[in-house]
Amino acid sequence: MRVTNRLMADTVLSSLYKNTHQLLKLQETVSSEKRINRPSDDPIGMGKILDYRKVLSSIDQYNTNITRGKTQIDLTESCLEAIDDLVLKARRIAVEQSAGELETRPNAAQEVKNIYDQILQLANTKLGDTYILSGHQTDTAPFSRDAGYNATYHGDDGDIRIIVGDNLDIKINVTGEDALRSGVDVFDSLRDLINGLEDPDTTAGTAQIATQVTPLSNALDQIKAVRAEAASTFIQLETTENQLANFKLNIEDMLSDTEDADMAQAIVELQIQKTAYETSLATAAKILQRSLMDFLR
């Protein structure tokens, strides 16, 4: 085959181009530390990367949601715990007073009134701007009373739910109705207790007081049952949080496997390519400079 000067120059040039193109590609991989720098580098890998990123972003959001849920359940638990203690106190007063201690009755009445108001205040706790025991009516205080200690529930029975997974949402609230009114009506019971303590007719009063002991005991059980339910939701949230943490680690691993470049390999290849490039340059210099004219004199 006849080899002309142009042919040699063109061939040398095109192999230099190949070398520099490879060099550039490797350089990009090393400096971005990613194997895939555009969808065309690996279309299937790119699809996977987008999937993994989406999952990671979802997991972060679920964690935010779970934190929100745990905060509300925590606060609900502290309220109910305090209410529990207060109801216990009221029950003790009822037991004592049903034994007939008439001198301490006015004090007892005042104490129960205070207990009533404290329970009312606790039930009207807010988390930020929202009332936690009102169901869906989060901008309205769940309970109020009139002068006769008749309580009214202004909330509803709505569920507050949070999303913790794909199409998975959990109820995180307790309604005032469920905790304090359905089954045993705590407020009505306390009202009757107050009326009994303040009844001028002491015999009828004592009888009334006595009839409030059982309801108040049942009220304690009722509140405990509600607390247990909330606690199990809390545990469910924590378990989910742990699972999500593990899952996130796995996904991050898979993302890194797909997306990241093997730095050691990339740098070695870069070195090899650099050497190849320098070799072609040296060879080019040697063969392109000589021609017959150097020897003809």
């Binding site: 000067n5 065309s40 003809l296």
Partner: protein, 462 residues
């Protein structure tokens, strides 16, 4: 006549012939770097011998023609491969731009915008009456709409840019065909007289090569040395001494169609019958690939709009009124957040019941759950699945175009190298030829000196 003057004639012929040869060698050396140049050589032939005693007497040498060293079959092959090269080059450039627009590797593309949109609904579900959460949702929704709008309009801009390239190329094609027609005339005029129009043929071949990278052509050379260039569908671009022009006209989509003008006022639309060259690459990207991506984007946007709106209108806002449509528009270019919601975020309907306001977040949860619902591809894919497959498609298209382009480049390089090895000038070879012809010239000059001495001897004999 075989006498002393005959010898002088032989010497003179030799001198002139070797001089021609050195001339042509000089032409070769001068044009060693000229693109498209084919080396030339002088064909020498012995003159007609004269019958004499003791036998046929040779009468010297004559330069009969200057021949161009050239493989015509190779020219056709190169032209064909050039068409494919031009096509894949143009297609690759176009679709690489699309890849850049989708910009998914940096993580700030549509995928992230959609993800943040769904997350904002979950944040709203966590606090349905919160003003901050509502404002954040509004902002993320606006970002989503703008991202859709921008990607759509960027893709349309690529289409318009290819139109500019197409117009420019058409003008170049017209210039080239004019030149080829001119060369046809010159070449046939010269060759009628029996001489080879070597340099003009080189120019014409170079022009044909350039033309083949732009559009698919079939060429054939007639007996009169004129080349006929036909374009898709057998329409002539160059025939004899005349050339036909191509032009563009705007079609129903607002993009340019390519038409062939027949010179007497009517035109034929050849856009769909072009099958090679850069024009084909641009047309393929502009009319097939990009519209595919545009319609996928439209599908995605339309489904998001209708699914979100359906749920939103079934919910209730902070004023306990039924939700208005959340998005306006029906396509990727029109999608926008309802202006009344932009002005008053309380109109975002998070609640599922009128009475459940403000704590009820069931509509917000339902909308957030849309991201897992199989709403695309006839109920088999989620929004993210669908979009991811669009991105993969673009990646695949670029890969295909790049692979074909690389393959074609090495094909064309190989053919060009082969052509160069046949028709190219080798300076070493020309140097040696120069020495060869110079010696021959010296010898012929010496012959003249000898004849001169012979004549002197004869004249001084008497």
């Amino acid at each position: 006549m075989p006498d002393i003057y005959g010898i002088l004639n032989v010497a003179r012929g030799a001198l002139l012939t070797q001089q021609r040869a050195i001339d042509v060698t000089g032409h070769n050396i001068a044009n060693v770097n000229t693109p498209g140049y084919s080396r030339q050589k002088v064909n020498m032939q012995t003159n007609t011998p004269i019958p004499f005693s003791p036998g046929q007497m040779g009468t010297g040498v004559n330069a009969v023609e200057i021949q161009r060293i050239y493989d015509s079959f190779l020219g056709v092959q190169i032209s064909n491969e050039n068409q494919n090269l031009g096509r894949w080059e143009a297609q690759k450039d176009c679709i690489e731009k699309v890849e850049m627009i989708l910009d998914e590797t940096s993580g700030y593309g549509l995928s992230q915008a959609m993800g943040e949109f769904w997350n904002a609904w979950q944040d709203l579900a966590n606090n349905p009456s919160g003003h901050t959460e509502r404002t954040l949702l509004k902002t993320k929704s606006e970002i989503l709409s703008h991202t859709f709008n921008k990607i759509y309009s960027d893709l349309q801009q690529i289409q318009k840019d290819t139109d500019v390239s197409i117009k420019g190329t058409i003008q170049e094609i017209n210039l080239i065909t004019d030149q080829i027609a001119g060369l046809n005339q010159q070449i046939s005029q010269i060759e009628v007289t029996g001489q080879n129009a070597n340099d003009l043929r080189d120019s014409r071949d170079l022009l044909l090569n350039e033309l083949s990278s732009m559009i698919d052509i079939t060429t054939s050379e007639g007996d009169n040395g004129k080349v006929t260039v036909l374009v898709s569908g057998g329409r002539p671009l160059v025939q004899d001494n005349s050339s036909w022009d191509l032009s563009t006209e705007t079609n129903v989509s607002g993009l340019q169609d390519i038409v062939w003008l027949d010179g007497s006022g009517s035109s034929a639309n050849i856009t769909n019958s072009i099958s090679g060259g850069k024009l084909k690459g641009w047309i393929e990207a502009r009319d097939a690939s990009i519209p595919g991506y545009l319609s996928s984007l439209d599908d995605l946007a339309a489904t998001i709009i209708s699914e979100v709106n359906t749920l939103h209108q079934g919910g209730f806002d902070l004023n306990s009124n039924p939700g208005e449509p959340f998005f306006t528009g029906t396509s990727a270019s029109q999608i926008a957040v309802n202006p009344s919601i932009v002005n008053d975020v309380n109109l975002i309907a998070a609640s599922g019941t009128a009475g459940g306001v403000p704590g009820d977040n069931s509509t917000a949860i339902a909308i957030a759950n849309l991201q897992y619902a199989h709403t695309m591809s006839g109920g088999t894919a989620t929004f993210d699945d669908y979009y991811n497959s669009v991105v993969s498609d673009v990646g695949n298209d670029v890969q295909t175009a790049t692979t074909n382009f690389d393959h074609q480049t090495s094909m064309v390089n190989h053919l060009n190298n082969y052509r160069e090895s046949i028709s190219g000038v080798s300076l070493d070879e020309e140097m040696i030829n120069l020495i060869k012809f110079q010696h021959a010239y010296d010898a012929a000059a010496k012959l003249i000196t000898t004849v001169d001495e012979l004549l002197n001897t004869v004249i001084n004999m008497v």
